[in-house]
Assembly symmetry: D2
Homo-oligomer: 336 residues x 4
């Protein structure tokens, strides 16, 4: 931590800062510049920067150690590549996950699985537990849904990803699901993250609606710090003042994350935009920006979907888009 | 729901909307204006407005039924007043909760309880489970902490509020705590909310960092819909582009919520600003704006606090502020 | 405008709304649904929706006529294509503008012009008047700078774009510049927009830092309504809570704008990200998302640039990127 | 400026930073901590921090000199008190400005002036030039309006404040107006600010919709740096994701600004909330938070107002509020 004193700070002011640093168990290094005295607080003990801001004539306090370690490129320089059912995410690879928002019934999920397999998809998505803003909205089929998607997936040689909302659901998910998804609203549900850190299946961690990239990487650190090294980050839009789209997809998060971390980052353009006709342009843009995968909502009959039908692609739209993406990937030196 | 057609929409376009409404189990009412045809979709079945937006020549779709019922002033017009240990929140009353951010040890929490009682406070706060951005930061004393704060509170005739983070912790909280607090990061942890809806103690629901007031009231609806009618809403700042303060305290949420809902709304100026010298002005402003209570962090030795010391008041500062607040309340026709 | 009454609104409440509508010179159409009475206010006179919100038992008020006309696809369905010096923006075309942030001196702008021409660029950018946050920062060379860039451009057969900040500068710009750029901070400088509406050269209108897409199109409407039909919209990032990048580039604005308006939309990834190593991925993403052009900062010696060197590409980086973009464009059916 | 090297940065990496600092005309001070090398770049020449971020193994770059000088409390410690027509803003004083949004005609402004004088107000507001999102909305009466408000003000011994939008309007304003108001959309119209820095009347500078407090103070610095020391800052709400109110009033800006600057800060709760019934609670909250003044919209017949009637108070509402504010001010040691 670095404490910058105001121009004109007295010796007494400076001494007070130094004393405080020592009291907190760190060493103080003073360096006098032309207009400002700068004091370094070296050591590992925890200090809250705001404690210094309240001392007299302290101009600014700067934290310099980032709090994430295991997710950082400094800790591990080579890209982490996560492979599920032959589909790869990370490094040169762009993986694909597709399927309906919600598991509705045996027929629907079966039909979706068939269509996805036909389109060349290897991992199907589908929600069994749904985080709904309203307590009166459809909350998902629960374990029954997980069983349905597992059966459908097995029939068509697909892997499964689905959202886990609660610690007590984890054992079920380990039985039926290949990638455990953490939703945006749970990105900082730290108890859930800690439990998932002990699981030996990949976790897909969605970015919170108002999470900074730093907080997102810290949430991933929770999972890695418990022993699970397979985390896929998923950008799904952030909340801004703009109302034309459901969320603002922050595609620049892709190069930012790839510089800071070795973990793969994928994009969910369906939730990121909330409207079917924006999914194709944003999918193409994501791959062009260098993402490591996509998760796209597709429904056999979007107009009949129980949830988020408006952002689901028709199967033919999806197939056409997938072909286009495969043509685009090599232009940016990626394999899809 | 109301669907507004674009100027120039054809009969066929209109018919498609009408057909869709009927397919979804609602009645369609057409009314032709000078420049726009407007179609009402009357009924109770769930429809996603975006489904219409994707139809040809639909200009705009408007949802008209708010999704919350039990929290609404339409459902219950009189203010809900929640009383804990003689302290009232709601109606004409402004209640006070104060205490340290975190329970650190027996001595600290005892000393805090003594100081709070001395200052006239009837409800003490203190965290036993801490939601920390970093997995390497102090995570709280857990059940031991809850026992400590209960003993200290009993000694000084105080009630206790503390944050519950996980369903499995609820039984402990019912043993030791009088108001169960849900943190900002868990505002949309719907499984937790559902469990708390079955509890017969008051729940304090903090506003999420990027939650709209509508989403916040919907989260409260989760708790009321399960049978628990004692919810205290707590504004604690939202996330904006401004970096001068930790969060932007949205004080206008007070009159907005009081118009829409009968539930009491309190303010946490400590987390809302993140800096000790901003707590007093924002506390005064909150009461002037008509809030039903305050929750303020006070520490016996802020400079030694394990967590958030920078936003904790010194005991004397708190006492002085409390006196000022009591003088201010009657100016806005409130009792404190 | 549509006024939705609350469930339980009295006849008197309804009559009051109807009276108000008539008083304001519009016709009132009442339609009674199962749970809500809905009143349409038909006509062209101006009404502020909030006036109704304050009447008793009014639940919601909805504006249905968008305020822009000339920029809308309803007014003109075919894409507007703007051609400057043989470079086309709009329709199937992706145009390119490149050059330094600021005109620094004769040598620098000359060298930049030479490099741009060599790379195949037909329009050079360069600032002569700079909107700087600090009054003590370099404010640009003014008219001298405009003369320099004109001379350099003429030598290499380039067109010129530069930012105009003030009405009194317009005559100068008409002498030296081919596209007049309006900066983000001036997007709602309505007096400037009105003057530019009378000019017979294209105007590039940058999106304001916190402007909604609707406000941006309304600002364009100011220019079109005065007679100038050649407006190029430029997305350059919006202000959000995220601090990892200077701004958050809102690439979904591309398909949103293209659906609502016939005007071309280009992207400025240099200001949109603020960092050189993010410019290439965001340029590729923009073209993949369907933009009609790019404006990229390139400097002959970025490390010596007087302003924004950190977001300027090296000439070789730019050439490499331009080649990649040309390979990518046909994948999304665009010509570059 | 301080450059923090990454853990593990090589001597070569460090040397490259040092060389760059010297090339830019500053001195480099190296100090080696346990885990990080920190390099200070001492001197006054301009450096863009991002230039360093792009060098190898640079972890972070921190700017330490704030760019505003004349507006800062370091430059001038005592509060600036601005007095107009006997009304004081700053120090212990809370001044009041009230009146209609827009000057509509002789009768309306006359009646408003009479009512304001009757209520004890000494400064009337009223717009003659209106910044409207739509080119088709009423744009104000222009100079005729200024003449009307001057005549009305003179009749009732009032001073006048009105918004100036353009440099060419300044001479008119100097003739008719006592405080020149700069609107939120023009906060960074630097050419306008520079002209106003030469004027010898007070300038009221509204905060931009997405302006940080730092940018706002920098905009004030433009005015002070040209010689005009009479600037009143006006908080009027910032743009956030919340849609329940027109803007989010950032009342914590009051104590933040008062710590950083000696300039008076007032609040406009009418634009800050956009709804009449939120104006009273937010006015009371502003004074409780320590503001130096208020600007409130009042209209003789709000339901007939040409613009923003929904946020205008009725004259009786205003009088009642003003009395309450006068009772509240002494509680927070202010004079009103």
């Amino acid at each position: 931590m670095i404490i910058v004193m105001r121009h004109g700070a007295s010796e007494e002011n400076i001494q007070k800062v130094v004393d405080f640093i020592r009291k907190k168990g760190r060493e103080a290094h003073i360096s006098k510049g032309e207009s400002h005295v700068v004091i370094g607080a070296v050591g590992e003990t925890v200090i809250d920067p705001r404690d210094f801001e309240l001392l007299d004539n302290v101009k600014e306090v700067i934290k310099i150690s980032s709090s994430y370690k295991l997710v950082s490129r400094i800790f591990k320089n080579e890209d982490t590549i996560i492979e599920v059912n032959g589909e790869k995410f990370g490094g040169d690879y762009v993986g694909m996950i597709a399927g309906p928002c919600t598991i509705e019934n045996e027929d629907q999920i079966n039909e979706c699985a068939r269509l996805m397999a036909e389109a060349g998809v290897k991992i199907i998505r589908g929600g069994a537990y749904k985080p709904r803003t309203s307590p009166y909205a459809f909350q998902g089929l629960g374990e029954e849904g997980l069983k349905m998607i597992r059966r459908a997936a097995d029939k068509y040689n697909l892997a499964v990803t689905s959202e886990v909302m609660e610690i007590s659901q984890i054992p079920q998910f380990l039985r039926y699901v290949d990638i455990l998804q953490v939703g945006a609203r749970n990105m900082q549900n730290f108890n859930l993250l800690k439990e998932l850190s002990k699981v030996d299946k990949p976790v897909m961690l969605k970015r919170g609606l108002s999470a900074t990239i730093n907080e997102w990487l810290m949430a991933a650190e929770y999972i890695l710090s418990g022993g699970n090294r397979e985390v896929i980050l998923c950008e799904r839009g952030i909340r801004t003042f703009e109302v034309a789209t459901r969320n603002t997809l922050d595609l620049c998060a892709i190069p930012v994350v790839k510089k800071l971390s070795h973990l793969p980052i994928i994009v969910d353009p369906s939730h990121g935009t909330g409207l079917r006709d924006k999914v194709a342009p944003m999918s193409l843009a994501s791959v062009a920006a260098g993402c490591d995968g996509l998760m796209i909502e597709v429904h056999n009959k979007p107009e009949c979907a129980l949830c988020d039908g408006a952002q689901s692609l028709y199967p033919e739209q999806f197939s056409e888009l997938y072909q286009k993406l495969k043509k685009l990937a090599p232009v940016v030196d990626k394999i899809m």
